[in-house]
């Protein structure tokens, strides 16, 4: 059994809403409201959800780009929220991120060589000729011509830029890589190239991935285990195959049924949710999903269900299962 690399315990992040003449606080956007999960070394943990569910905020919390209001984030045994300054910076080598927008996540004024070489420079790991050599090696690893070191990002296509971003992320051999919608902005055929690259690099470098996406098919392809988020909370965690084969939470079922299948003959019972996602400013009392759930019960509007394990490795936060 592998050890736990990333342990997130009851993390909360509430953004204060400022309204009124003198910017008085007027409530909070409860972007992440008590999220707990663990990622084992070497696995790919998928995080799936729609806009407003908090997955992007969560990724930034883990990366310590923003500070959590409550909770613990233990990375390799150390609580990231308690680290400061130099110590935190040293941890950052081991925790990297690949971003969503290939056209915006690279500094347009830096050459490819400078971008991929930046981690070496920042952490003082290599200089001069040695750094150059490793940069070229990395470019080759991600499928780019090493002679491109002196080109600028705008000279590359979306897929190629994403490769550059990946090269930068793995430069210092990190332990955990967070892929935040890393392929969402790419065409289907490029997507498959990048996903294959990510899998290949995982094998070579023994990487652990936290794979965040709104696209369930892609997440299922990449992940060993998947957590489904809704309005700042995790509603279900299960192994990838298990989640697809027997989803338990009504939201997960709706999400799965909403995906259009690339098969014209696939007849399915589609659960179409009514209404829009409620705003994270005024989440419903009780279960967050109660306003749209087809199987809502009175207790759902009063009490929030806890995340409970229903089968080996399968946990759901739903009153339908807490009764049993």
């Amino acid at each position: 059994m592998n050890n736990i690399l990333l342990d997130v315990q009851n993390v909360k992040k509430h953004f204060p809403l400022k309204k009124g003449v003198f910017s008085r606080g007027k409530g909070f956007v409860k972007a992440v409201d008590g999220v707990s999960f663990s990622v084992y070394q070497g696995e790919t943990f998928g995080l799936v959800g729609e806009s407003g569910c908090g997955k992007s905020t969560l990724s930034r919390l883990i990366m310590r780009l923003i500070a959590a209001d409550e909770g613990e984030i233990r990375f390799d045994g150390k609580d990231l929220l308690k680290l400061k300054g130099g110590e935190l910076r040293r941890q950052r080598q081991h925790l990297q991120m690949v971003f969503q927008k290939p056209f915006e996540s690279l500094n347009p004024r830096m050459t490819v060589g400078e971008i991929v070489g930046a981690p070496f420079r920042i952490h003082g790991k290599a200089k001069g000729a040695e750094r150059e050599r490793r940069v070229r090696e990395l470019l080759e690893k991600v499928g780019l011509d090493p002679d491109y070191v002196n080109r600028y990002p705008h000279e590359f296509s979306g897929g190629q830029r994403q490769r550059i971003g990946i090269a930068r992320a793995i430069a210092l051999n990190p332990k955990l890589v967070i892929c935040d919608e890393a392929v969402s902005a790419l065409d289907v055929s490029i997507q498959s190239q990048i996903l294959n690259l990510l899998k290949q690099l995982q094998r070579e470098y023994q990487l652990t991935y936290l794979f965040i996406s709104h696209n369930l098919s892609v997440v299922k392809h990449m992940s060993d285990r998947i957590a489904v988020m809704y309005l700042g909370k995790i509603v279900e965690i299960a192994g990838a195959d298990e989640l697809y084969a027997s989803p338990q939470h009504p939201y997960t079922k709706a999400l799965l049924s909403a995906i259009p299948h690339a098969d014209p003959d696939a007849k399915k019972e589609r659960i179409v949710l009514t209404g829009d996602v409620p705003s994270p400013v005024n989440p419903p009392a009780g279960c967050r999903f109660c306003t749209r759930c087809s199987e809502v019960m009175p207790i759902c509007r009063e009490r929030e269900p806890a995340l409970i394990e229903t089968a080996d490795g399968h946990a759901v936060a739903c009153h339908l299962y807490t009764k049993e």
Partner: protein
Amino acid sequence: MADVLLQIEQLTTQFRTERGIFPAISNLSLTVNKGEIVCIVGESGSGKTVASLSVMQLLPPAGSIASGEIRFEGRNLLALDQKELRKIRGRSIAMIFQDPMMALDPVYPCGEQIMEAIRIHTRTSRKEQRARALELLEQVGIPHPERVMKAYPHELSGGMCQRVVIAMALACNPKLLIADEPTTALDVTVQAQILELLKKIRREFGMSILMITHDLGVVAEMADRVAVMYAGQVVEEGEVRSIFHHPRHPYTQGLIRSIPHLDKPSDKLFSIPGTVPGIAAIPSGCRFHPRCPECMAICEREEPKPVATSPTGSVRCWLADKPKQNGAET
């Protein structure tokens, strides 16, 4: 017998760039029949958006139609002057775009914008316009139409905005709706709602839909017929089942194989090597030949013309003249 509503014939649209004038679509031919949903599927750079914009001549200043015909209900749209064209836009043919929040004017309430669509094409009083706008909002499934009438676009969610945009498009009962990636910017559960709405509209009003998308799942779900585009041309066309179950063009085959399937576990995804060529660097002969696993000598020299594979299907490929290796086609 199908009634032809829109007939695009050998259309070529070109763009003026710093490096010269290049065609974005070449000799494109496409048909949409009454009550039918046709999906144009392709990746970025395929020219699908240019094709959709060409129909109503909504191209940006750098673009212009070089040759071809676009016949709508028998009339050649390219021969119309601006005034006549404006009578068609928003009335007989309507168009909706990808990002619903950006598609609406931020300084006017939604109701006003729907009423504007009614006002410019009909002689009705403001009261009648308002009533019709409310009716439209109800038809597209908006729960509190009166509230949405007064709301500004930035106050609504993406899904709601797209419903407003659809309501606006339906204002004058168009016969054809052109939808350019209408659900790409939306969450998957909202996408499901919008797709259901579009299907409902087709059922209730007999409206035809020309949908542009890159998502094969959406195609499988919505289309009656499909046109696959690559580098400015239709490389394969046909009924949705034959496209998915018996794709003839290697590009179509590659696309279908690239999709991660929920029920088929795989470690390595198939991917088409290489990238889509830019409009200034179109390969000679068959445009797909540098990336094609079955490239032959003739593919590098000569551009294949569309060959009919069935009464409703065609493919642009030199392989079409040869019988398939594994198994005969019916």
